[in-house]
């Protein structure tokens, strides 16, 4: 990469800020700070002028690839385009400059927005109540499982310590269960890629706290037996948790609450069009059915119907407590609210329909060349594997992903879900045009041809990016996380 680190720019003494003269009597630091806390030599700060700093960061920003730059088909991440009106709304001074300790009577607009967002999310998912506190998806899972644990314990049913997850689940599901001090039991998917009812039945018991599922699952397949699954889970006395990461497939069409789920977390930063990845913080609201509502994190935003005043309800004796400072990532909630209000119920349904149509269209273009492990209609995303003949040439999914960068695309998710060997997981989202999908498919088919005719092109890729293929083993084992001045000991 041609751009140096900012430490490598500038010259000693160069600066871009000019401090006024000190107008109080000065004293040497030795008199003010204990000797053992004083540093021995000055810190190595970059010394650059404003011109150099601005140039450096502007050049770096031009190397960035994001949803505003191009197609970003990262499976299970819903990298849809985020309308700029959302940013406008979040930057309104009444939202952006609110202090978290602002008295409730001075923040009625913000409270109303939170209250209404809770209601919209409940309507969209078929749940009874929502909290907006969790900071992102995995945090939402954590909140949800803590509530399930509290629910069982409150009933005196304290022997439920197992959480059942599918072998195609997001890695956060078993990780969440482990973090909650629960035992993880993984069950195998059936031949068609969905939950195996027999395996589920064998795993369920009076020690099961919850079953965590994603619907549609990470293979982009809808769990058609979800009602039977929910029945079996509830008969065993357990709760059914919905990982809502894939909600973009079903908005306005089917509701997890109607499928029998007791808890769901949403990713506002995926489904409800707010920036994520490097673009901003997430938000993972959690919805519950009424039997779990007493355990929601405190406070919950409520409306006094008599006075019309919104308030924080802290009077929740069974609450699991706070899970996040203040009320979550409020700016993200404003963006999601703006999105929901802008497109409306019909618009959300249309978004999901187009997300599913786009995924099926793209899958149909790739199907002949790329191997399809589960050959049926997909939902909003799908999984393929490298073309026949790649393995013989020593080519792997990672080589396809790297070569896609040379064609100007962000690669899809790779090596996930784990149950598909050499998986390549593609989620085009509803915001891409047919022309974009056609172009991407052409690049994928071209790569399929290149792999068989000149595999070196894939093995050496990428060649047109600021940095070429990274040494991932060294990066994982001997990471260099801190700049050191030349000559300093590592």
């Amino acid at each position: 990469m041609s751009e140096p680190l900012i430490f490598e720019l500038g010259a000693p003494g160069r600066t871009s800020s000019y401090m006024p003269d000190c107008d109080v009597p000065g004293r040497p630091p030795e008199e003010l700070v204990p000797a053992d806390l004083l540093r021995k030599r000055p810190p190595e700060f970059p010394e650059v002028g404003e011109r150099e700093a601005a140039g450096h960061f502007t050049r770096l920003s031009s190397l960035n690839y994001g949803v505003d730059t191009g197609f970003y088909p990262l499976g299970s991440c819903t990298m849809k385009y985020n309308p700029k009106i959302n940013e406008y709304a979040a930057r309104l001074p009444g939202f952006a400059r609110l202090h978290p300790y602002q008295p409730e009577d001075q923040a009625q607009g913000a409270l109303r927005l939170m209250y209404e967002t809770q209601g919209y999310l409940a309507e969209i998912t078929g749940m009874d109540q929502f909290t907006l506190q969790p900071a992102a998806g995995a945090h939402g899972e954590f909140t949800g499982l803590l509530m399930i644990k509290a629910y069982h314990d409150h009933r005196g049913d304290t022997g439920r310590r197992k959480v059942i997850v599918s072998d195609s689940s997001h890695g956060t599901n078993p990780a969440t269960a482990a973090l909650c001090g629960l035992e993880v039991l993984q069950i195998r998917s059936g031949r068609d890629g969905t939950v195996d009812m027999e395996a589920l039945g064998e795993a369920l018991g009076d020690d099961t706290a919850a079953v965590m599922l994603t619907n549609p699952n990470t293979l982009g397949l809808f769990e058609k037996e979800i009602l039977e699954i929910a029945g079996a889970v509830h008969r065993a006395g357990a709760m059914l948790y919905c990982d809502g990461a894939n909600m973009n497939a079903v908005m306005g069409i089917s509701r997890p609450g109607d499928m029998g789920f007791d808890v769901i977390h949403l990713n506002l930063h995926k489904t409800f069009s707010t920036p994520h990845g490097g673009g901003g913080p997430g938000s993972g609201p959690v919805g519950v059915k009424s039997h779990l509502a007493p355990f929601l994190p405190s406070p919950v935003v409520r409306l006094n119907p008599d006075s019309g005043i919104y308030f924080f309800d802290y009077d929740r004796p069974l609450s699991i407590g706070k899970v996040r400072a203040f009320y979550g990532n409020f700016g993200v909630v404003v963006r999601a609210y703006a999105y929901i209000r802008a497109v409306g119920g019909e618009g959300l349904r249309e978004a999901s329909e187009n997300a599913v149509i786009n995924a099926n269209y793209l899958l149909s273009l790739l199907k002949g060349k790329y191997r399809v492990p589960f050959d049926r209609h997909c939902m909003h995303e799908f999984v393929v594997a490298p073309p026949a003949g790649f393995r013989e040439s020593g080519l792997h999914t990672v080589d396809i992903a790297k070569r896609l960068m040379d064609y100007g695309y962000h690669p899809p998710t790779v090596y996930f879900p784990l149950i598909v060997e050499e998986a390549l997981m593609v989620e085009p989202t509803e915001t891409e045009s047919k022309a974009t999908l056609d172009d991407f498919a052409r690049a994928m088919l071209e790569i399929a041809r290149e792999g068989l005719e000149s595999p070196g092109l894939l093995r050496d890729a990428p060649v047109s990016t600021p940095v070429s293929r990274l040494d991932e083993v060294s990066a994982a084992r001997r990471p260099r996380l801190r700049w050191q001045p030349p000559g300093a000991a590592e």
Partner: protein, 125 residues
């Protein structure tokens, strides 16, 4: 010799070799090939009791993190400390230097229920 005859195997791609009353456990050639370059191995403490089928640690590669499961029940009597500095041994020598743990078996007859080399080869090929 990708799947030595003197070992027994699991469907989760572990192998076990009996040495007296102890079983040495590792992951198979197929597993290390699927994982890709191994960068970190998480192992249990010596003395821990493991049950057959229970996860006793994890192998992390540049692609993913995978649990490793105990082929038999017993007590962990040794772990391969060398993997902390040289996790690549799991790739280079999965049946030798890349071993993970040694277990004192509760019930040596559990071995008979595991896959033979021939059965395991049929599973992965």
């Amino acid at each position: 010799m990708m799947y030595p005859e003197n070992l027994r195997y699991t469907k989760e791609h572990e192998w076990i070799r009996l040495e007296g009353g102890r079983g040495v456990v590792g992951v198979t050639h197929y597993a290390q090939d699927q994982l890709g370059d191994v960068v970190f191995v998480e192992l249990p403490e010596v003395g821990r009791e493991v049950r057959a089928g229970e996860s006793f640690g994890a192998v992390e590669s540049v692609k993913s993190v995978s649990d490793v499961y105990a082929p038999v029940s017993g007590r962990v009597v040794a772990v391969n400390e060398a993997l902390a500095d040289a996790p690549e041994q799991v790739n280079r020598d999965p049946y030798g230097q890349g071993w993970l743990i040694a277990v004192e078996l509760n019930d040596p007859s559990e071995i008979a229920g595991l896959l033979t080399a021939e059965q395991y080869r049929a599973l992965v090929e």
